[in-house]
């Protein structure tokens, strides 16, 4: 494999509000390789969206700011790129789709208008040609009445169709990277299945790398190659899908996986992680998960763990347990939690 398409190093993003600085993302580093689907999971507020917005340079003006780290994309540090350069990159090389298909399209312009705008922005083609391309794109994302749809307004489409349009807009210039921030959360399962299938197909046919943000582990298992688990602004575990689901090392990942009710059979009792996600900036020292962790020992409360390599290549976890016996959360521990 060549070098990564996108490499994030020590990204720190903060919000500056009345209540002071809120470090929403605190030292995140990861890479995405060409053609790969990377999943980012974590509970609400752990900094998934902020990470993606930092990459796009779309943090809310005046409040949100990248305060540290680098974002390397095709040999260029996006943190330092000019707004002009960012405009060229956005939509053209990195595209993004959002959670809310209902509100992510401008209600006052037709689908065609918004799609053609995206196409013409980065290519020098004429109106007619752009329109033809727009039709093509809509067909690509599986909208049956592509021609008519161009002249319709967002409110005339269902949620699933709108999300397809969003994908069409994002794919208009065949970006190298597509960031999808919870693209299916607002949709029904049957529609979600359609959209996921579509994204998988786009990934396969165009080799577009996808950064898939979600909190649904099912979705991760479904389409991702590699997974990053985030907690309170940090990455707590990273690894291939197989590794994460089969050999989770961080107690948080374990808890997360074990707390999902499965449709394949009734668990006696769900595992549950006690407490809740801390607000960013409220933890002063030690491991951020220590307060909710049942394995926590003194060191966890005093010292901040690093991301440690475990087992196979690329599997890293932020937990002192792996140092203890080199094995992290072992099966016995899991069993113990099950019995409780």
């Amino acid at each position: 494999m060549e070098g990564p398409l996108l490499e994030v190093r020590g990204l720190q993003t903060s919000f500056f509000t009345d209540e002071g600085e809120i470090p929403a993302v605190d030292g995140v580093d990861f890479s995405i390789y060409e053609g790969e689907v990377l999943g980012i999971v974590g509970e609400s507020g752990c900094g998934k969206s902020v990470t993606s917005l930092s990459i796009m340079g779309l943090l809310p003006k005046g409040i949100g700011k990248v305060v540290g780290g680098e974002i390397w994309f095709k040999g260029e540090n996006l943190v330092e790129a000019s707004e002009r350069r960012m405009k060229q990159i956005r939509g053209n090389e990195i595209a993004m789709i959002f959670q809310e298909p209902m509100t992510s399209l401008n209600p006052l312009f037709t689908i065609g208008n918004q799609l053609v705008e995206a196409i013409r922005l980065h290519t020098k083609i004429g109106k007619k040609e752009a329109r033809a391309r727009a039709v093509e794109m809509l067909k690509l994302v599986g909208l049956p009445r592509a021609e008519q749809t161009l002249d319709e307004y967002p409110h005339q489409l269902s949620g699933g169709m709108r999300q397809r349009v969003m994908i069409a807009i994002a794919m208009a210039c065949q970006p190298a990277l597509l960031i999808a921030d919870e693209p299916t959360t607002a949709l029904d399962v049957t529609i979600q299945a359609q959209i996921l299938a579509l994204m998988k197909e786009l990934n396969r046919t165009f080799g577009t790398a996808i950064m898939m943000i979600t909190h649904d582990l099912g979705v991760v298992a479904e389409i991702c190659d590699r997974v990053i688990v985030m907690y309170a602004g940090q990455i707590v575990e990273e690894g291939s899908v197989q590794a994460i689901f089969r050999r989770p090392q961080h107690p948080y990942t374990v808890g997360l996986i074990r707390s999902i009710p499965d449709i394949r059979g009734k668990k006696e009792r769900l595992y549950s992680i006690p407490g809740q996600v801390p607000k960013p900036g409220t933890i002063r020292c030690g491991c951020r998960f220590a307060e909710r962790c049942e394995y926590a020992f003194d060191r966890c409360r005093q010292e901040e763990p690093q991301l440690y390599e475990v087992g196979e290549q690329g599997h890293r976890t932020r937990c002192f347990l792996v140092l203890e016996k080199g094995g992290g959360v072992d099966e016995r521990a899991v069993a113990r939690s099950e019995r409780a």
């Binding site: 009792r269 407490g275 809740q276 607000k279 409220t282 307060e291 409780a340």
Partner: protein, 299 residues
Amino acid sequence: MAELARTPATPPTAIREEKTGSLWGEAWQRFRKNKIALVGAGIVLFFIVIALLAPWLAPYDYKEQQLAERLQPPSGEHWFGTDDFGRDIFSRVIYGARISLWVGFFSVLGSIVVGSLLGIIAGYYGRWIDGIISRLFDIMLAFPSILLAIGIVAVLGPSLQNALIAIAVINVPNFGRLIRSRVLSIKQEEYIMAAKAIGMSDWRILFHHILPNSLAPIIVQGTLAIATAIIEAAALGFLGLGAQPPNPEWGKMLSDAKDFLTQAPWTMIFPGLAIMLTVLGFNLMGDGLRDALDPRMKS
């Protein structure tokens, strides 16, 4: 119960302890941080103090005529000069604060009381009652409000009290509509559904849930309405339909002074500035309150 027991009795410090808990308390915290709003509140407070302490602050009797000292320019003796009766404008402006605040406050109070009543009835009962009340509001809003006020004063006779009534009347539909829409939207809130689900009666829902939750917009709108009411009172005073002499109502002072615009501009400038400043104070404060109380600002 094992699971329950394991849930820590003291939750992690995820929630920062806050000094004041209620939304009002939080709104106050937000308001306190808003410098511009504080300036507004300061101005309002300033005029309230002036109004309350007028007899002690005013160097002269506001109605004491010194015909020999007419139209004196501002001086050490008369800070704002004298008017065409030789009365001390400074003292009159100070006493004028009483009148303007009085009219502003009570007319708005009147509009709120009547408007709320109509708005609640319309919003809560709906159907034809709503139809009638809403049409009534439409009618009143379609009236050019200043003409309506003039008409009301013409019927009742010009006096401060009647000007107050007229201003209250013309503002009723604004509050009525506000309350009505609040009632309608709060009626849709899930906690109202929840209240119904526990078997709460309609009236209890109205008084324990809907009204308290309508209070914030009423306060915001009320503060801003006081600002408008003060200007409206001044306008009526200016047309000779408000306060009667020798009451030093600011609008009336302006209309008395307009004949001396060229000879004695100070007679015109100070009451005008007083109106502007007071109104500005209420506007700033109202804006600040809106920011502080606006539910969209809630986390």
